[in-house]
């Protein structure tokens, strides 16, 4: 420890209460930064988790062609008038006939973690006199489960039963209530082509999304193909999961080179989710930085008071031969010490707050406690910001101290 640091140490330790206040303000700022960001990250995680229980990162389907070819070429000479009445963009094919080929192609890509085929159609479900429309999904049970953990939301029955019996159907809880059925009852399904088939309810599913649970019905994809008289490899949607949902857009661009069908990443269809998680991040950073800056003002204030209080001593030190740099070092050392000690305490305190949040009961949807995320990055950034802010807050008063004119002070 050199002479300047020793002087700084004496200054700090001789004003214990002020030191404590300064350290606490830094600790508070840093711990709030950590708590806010951990909480927001937790909320964002749970949001995406909920989102992806029903939605794949990338969806491939047969869309209406985006560019409509004109039926007649636009006439070149201005004396000809072109009139086409009631032109329509007609979809000549529906669904994807060779979904298995696409699936195999996609599975070769390294970023892909899973692919599942679905056959989705709207149907009527009838139980005696009560009837309602439902969206029927023919699913590949194993792949579907791998992508969406569907079995976790099945509250009665077993998803693998769908493969074992071709007349099995799993209904959303809301849907089952609407038409008044339970597990074991039979219902009849009518397609838009007026084909009817009787199914037996072998299970109920509740995903937490009430709207979806009121219309959702699951059968196996083979049964669905039969019902709609489609070929063996037919599907309406190819659902793809990637190893990182944030990269879905990039991967979807890659996939669209492999196929002519429409490839849509989840961000394209859900701009509101992307924007709300971005807004939460911005809010968390803004609030926590504000707290840190306020803590910085606290330090600035305390260091300023210290400099004013010690102005005579600064003058004496200068008279004895200490130069401006020494004075800056003495006072900057004090604020750096406050920043480092406050920072370390803040990290521990922040972690404790996050753990407390983590154990606060919060029973909504699938949550039992408040969602938080433990990320090392937050801790490093909080510490870094804290130290930088104390450095700036300490530098200004130190520079003022270094400019003290000893003659003015000592002559009184």
């Amino acid at each position: 420890m050199n002479t300047n640091q020793r002087i700084a140490k004496v200054h700090l330790t001789s004003r214990f209460r002020q030191l404590l206040v300064a350290i606490l303000s830094v600790s508070f700022g840093i711990s709030m930064y950590i708590a806010m960001n951990s909480f927001m990250a937790g909320v964002n995680n749970i949001q995406t988790q909920i989102t992806f229980t029903a939605m794949a990162h990338i969806k491939i389907y047969n869309d209406l062609p985006a560019n409509v070819e004109p039926i007649l070429p636009i006439p070149k000479d201005s004396n000809t008038v072109l009139m086409v009445n009631n032109a329509r963009n007609i979809q000549y094919t529906q669904g994807i006939k060779n979904a298995d080929a696409i699936k195999n192609d996609i599975l070769n890509m390294p970023e892909i973690t899973g692919v599942a085929l679905q056959l989705n159609q709207n149907v009527f479900i009838r139980n005696g006199v009560s009837k309602t429309s439902a969206s029927l999904s023919g699913i590949e049970t194993v792949n579907e489960n791998a992508l969406f953990q569907t079995s976790e939301y099945i509250i009665e029955g077993d998803i693998s039963e769908l493969d074992k019996r071709s007349d099995g159907i799993i209904l959303g809880t809301g849907l089952a209530r609407t038409i008044g059925v339970n597990t074991g009852n039979t219902i009849s399904i009518t397609t838009s082509d007026d084909v009817s088939k009787t199914f037996k309810v072998i299970g109920l599913i509740e995903s937490g999304n009430k709207g979806a649970d009121k219309t959702r019905a699951l059968i196996s994809i083979q049964t669905a193909r039969q019902l709609f008289s489609k070929n063996k490899s037919y599907a309406t949607d190819v659902l793809v999961n990637t190893n990182n949902y944030n990269n879905a857009r990039l991967v979807s661009e890659k996939i669209s080179k492999l196929t002519d069908y429409k490839v849509e990443s989840w961000q394209e269809g859900n701009a509101q989710l992307v924007s709300s998680s971005l807004l939460r991040d911005i809010l968390a950073i803004a609030v926590s930085l504000t707290i840190l800056i306020v803590a910085g003002f606290g330090i600035y204030n305390i260091m300023n008071m210290t400099v004013n209080e010690k102005i005579k001593e600064i003058a004496i030190l200068k008279a004895m031969g200490f130069n401006g740099k020494d004075i800056i070092e003495i006072f900057l050392t004090q604020s750096v010490a406050i920043g480092l000690i406050g920072g370390l305490i803040g990290l521990v305190l922040g972690n404790i707050i996050v753990q407390i949040l983590d154990s606060v009961p919060f029973n909504i949807a699938t949550l039992t406690t408040l969602p938080v995320d433990y990320k090392l990055r937050d801790y490093i950034l909080a510490f870094l910001f804290g130290v930088i802010i104390t450095l700036i807050a300490g530098y200004l008063p130190s520079r003022k101290a270094s400019k003290v004119d000893p003659v003015e002070i000592l002559r009184g």
Binding site: L317, A319, D326
Partner: protein
């Protein structure tokens, strides 16, 4: 051998109104001389001392100390120069109250870094003993009496063995007994160590016992 040589020193105060404090002052001080500067209040004697101490740099003229022209040097160079060459004793002791007596004495030497910490400590203790402060070393500077504090301040001024010791009314706050002690210390330093001593004083008896008296009146040198 000249310790201090000043030529045509002029100093103005600009606030609140333009006022010439020192008017064309020139004199020399030899090595080992014990000089006192006297004059009425407002005659400019303290101002002159602060110019000599190199702390105040806003003046016209030339100051040469130990063959170094200090006029025109940068603040940091002057700080280093003061640290090595000049010891300063103020009217009020101006010790650092949160440090021990020993630390107060050691600080200028620790800054100079010419000797190891142990050597500095030994020297500081020796100086404190010389000034009759045995047993006070580890007390806080704010916890000893006024006379003792002034002697600590003198020890601090002496720790780097400066060639020049300056005092701004070093005995102004002391009773006659303590004044005598301080005077004797100065006398002895000048005589035995050959250190030059310049003290501003109001005390006629103090001044009368010096080697030489420089008298100022209204910013002019009237006798030396």
């Amino acid at each position: 051998m000249k310790a201090i040589s000043i030529k045509n020193l002029n100093k103005y105060f600009h606030d609140p109104v333009e006022f010439q404090v020192l008017k064309d002052i020139s004199f020399d001080v030899n090595k080992g001389e014990f000089v006192s500067i006297i004059g009425k209040s407002g005659s400019g004697k303290s101002t002159l001392l602060y110019l000599l101490s190199t702390m105040d740099t806003k003046y016209d003229g030339n100051i040469i100390i130990n063959d170094t022209r200090v006029t025109g040097l940068k603040q940091n160079q002057l700080a280093k120069f003061r640290n090595e060459q000049i010891g300063f004793v103020f009217q009020f002791h101006f010790l650092l109250p949160e440090f021990t007596v020993l630390d107060n004495v050691m600080l200028p030497a620790l800054k100079l870094k010419k000797k190891s910490k142990d050597e500095i400590e030994a020297e500081a203790i020796e100086l404190l003993y010389l000034l009759g402060l045995k047993g006070q070393e580890h007390k806080k500077a704010s916890k000893i009496s006024g006379g003792q504090q002034q002697r600590v301040a003198i020890s601090r001024a002496l720790i780097n063995s400066p060639s020049i010791i300056m005092g701004d009314e070093p005995t102004g706050n002391l009773d006659s007994k303590n004044t005598q002690i301080v005077f004797d210390v100065f006398r002895e330093l000048a005589k035995e160590r050959g250190q030059t001593i310049i003290a501003v004083t109001h005390d006629d008896e103090f001044a009368a016992n010096c080697d030489r008296i420089i008298e100022l009146s209204d910013g002019k040198l009237i006798s030396q």
